[in-house]
Symmetry: C2
Subunit: 311 residues, 2 copies
């Protein structure tokens, strides 16, 4: 029997494309159950539920991976932790920062593992970039995160609603890489958020950051209207004159023009390896910096109306 019997709550695109294969490939996990409001389930799940509350009654269940839209994650995670189950939170980890703060408190008093799974951090270029930047000052930063929302979020209406995060749904991946590799704390100083006339969430965002160095130029450009090839790049010049280029969502790293990492992305393999480590150690890993930066961008962002967008 595998050490961790896990249940998936919410069986949509991310659960099917990413969590399911990562769980199947990791011998430390056994897929015990799936809960899906539509009653979807893979054939290797021992149990299937329409109501996750029924799943939480399984005495053999050790942990759940919460892959629902973020609006309901706090409620579900709270009940899971209180039922004695550890919880992995897909990103963004909750609907609001206050909800995430509350889950930290609950996990700690329930003595269960709570894990904010920032999958983009598990690309091989991330650790290599963090190491290269240690002790350096960043002089120039350009994050370009541009993708085709029609390809990645087909028919997902919740992402366009107020609280659905819009372009920050992918953008938070870039921010989760940034908070991991930046050698100093980085703050959002200006943000412009483009809202389509028919939507309550932004389709694009421009961010200006500051870390406090004189003459720095730190920016991000997020856009969901990209067609053709997708762009998930982070370019950095250090004060010491080094140049880093992370591409393919940080699966590839060039350092001063030389390729030092170029791996096939295996983000969720890394996510479940880390979840295994946390579960075995009985500890939590709740990283709220990327989510806090998103809230900061919404709080200080200038809203600019743009053309209606139909998907």
């Amino acid at each position: 029997m595998a050490p961790h019997r896990v249940g998936i709550i919410g069986f949509g695109k991310i659960a099917q494309d990413q969590h399911l294969p990562a769980i199947r490939a990791n011998p430390d996990f056994e897929l015990l159950a799936v809960s899906s409001q539509r009653g979807l389930s893979p054939e290797d799940a021992k149990y299937t539920f329409v109501d996750y509350r029924e799943m939480l009654k399984l005495p053999d269940l050790d942990a759940v991976a919460i892959c629902t839209p973020p609006q309901v994650r706090h409620d579900i995670a709270k009940q899971a932790l209180q039922a004695g189950k550890s919880a992995l939170l897909e990103k963004p980890p909750a609907a609001t920062l206050s909800e995430l703060e509350d889950l930290k408190r609950i996990a700690s008093s329930a003595r269960k593992t709570l894990f904010t799974a920032w999958h983009a951090q598990h690309n091989d270029g991330v650790d290599a970039a963090a190491k290269a930047l240690q002790g350096q000052a960043i002089k120039r930063l350009l994050i370009t995160w541009k993708e085709d929302v029609r390809q990645w979020h087909p028919g997902q209406q919740w992402i366009w609603q107020a609280g659905g995060f819009g372009i920050f749904d992918p953008g938070i991946n870039a921010l989760s890489i940034l908070t991991r590799i930046a050698p100093q704390p980085i703050f959002i100083k200006q943000a412009t958020l483009e809202f389509p006339a028919n939507r309550d969430a932004p389709i694009a965002a421009s961010l200006v950051f500051a870390s406090g160095s004189v003459g720095e130029d730190l920016r991000a450009e997020f856009d969901w209207r990209q067609t053709g090839p997708q762009t998930w790049d982070i370019e950095i010049d250090t004060a010491a004159g080094q140049h880093l280029l992370l591409t393919k969502g940080a699966a590839r790293l060039e350092f001063d023009g030389k390729v030092v990492v170029d791996e096939t992305p295996a983000e969720y393999t890394g996510v479940y390896q880390q979840f295994d480590t946390l579960l075995k150690a009985g500890t939590s890993d709740v990283e709220d910096m990327p989510f806090r930066l998103v809230a900061d961008a919404f709080m200080i962002g200038k809203r600019v109306p743009v053309e209606a967008f139909e998907d």
Copy 2:
């Protein structure tokens, strides 16, 4: 000589109307210096500066009260703490949550007092309401915070800019009372933010909260377009059938129709009493819940354009 020699940074309306008289009235504080870009200073300040960095060089200065607009507070507080001065932050305590988080870290490593001065918490009705609500469940909450922006923020253009908070500048006072009196954690579930056509900050906001109780009805209405009498009320019904009414910004409390507190507001007297206690104990008091709720409201809020507003 008073125990704490204090400097005021930013000598605008709130510093002149509130901080100055509270410092003068408290024998534990001596006003050593004032820094003001416009060179304003009261006659009892020993030193006057145009550049706060010059003030921070005063070896006798123990602490600063940072009364500038929030956009520059992080920079100033960081330099003050690093110069070995304790810092009081007017509300909102910074431009972003990430900046406040950074200041926490800096204060802790500098071993200096950092104090988020939520002045509204110092009304006498607040402690009385918190005590009355202990162990209770709130069934109905209605916060009504309606005031005339022309009266309270004459000519303050920064509050209307992106990042200027708009109606949340007074609204955060209500939220700081709520976080102090609520017997359970409270989350924002829905927010509607009204943006005047010519402004980048909201003039009104409606919030729906949840604490997890079945059948609860928890709301707030913030509006800056009030004329005539101002309204700063919080009405609460508990599940046990008790009724609380906080009015006059929590200076007055009725409990089941009976007036139990009715004091002249003396918010900043309380602020400086608490600052004195913290300075003497060498500890910090950084409460980020009210600020986090504001960020949550901006992040999940639905933006509604309304008529242009000229002040």
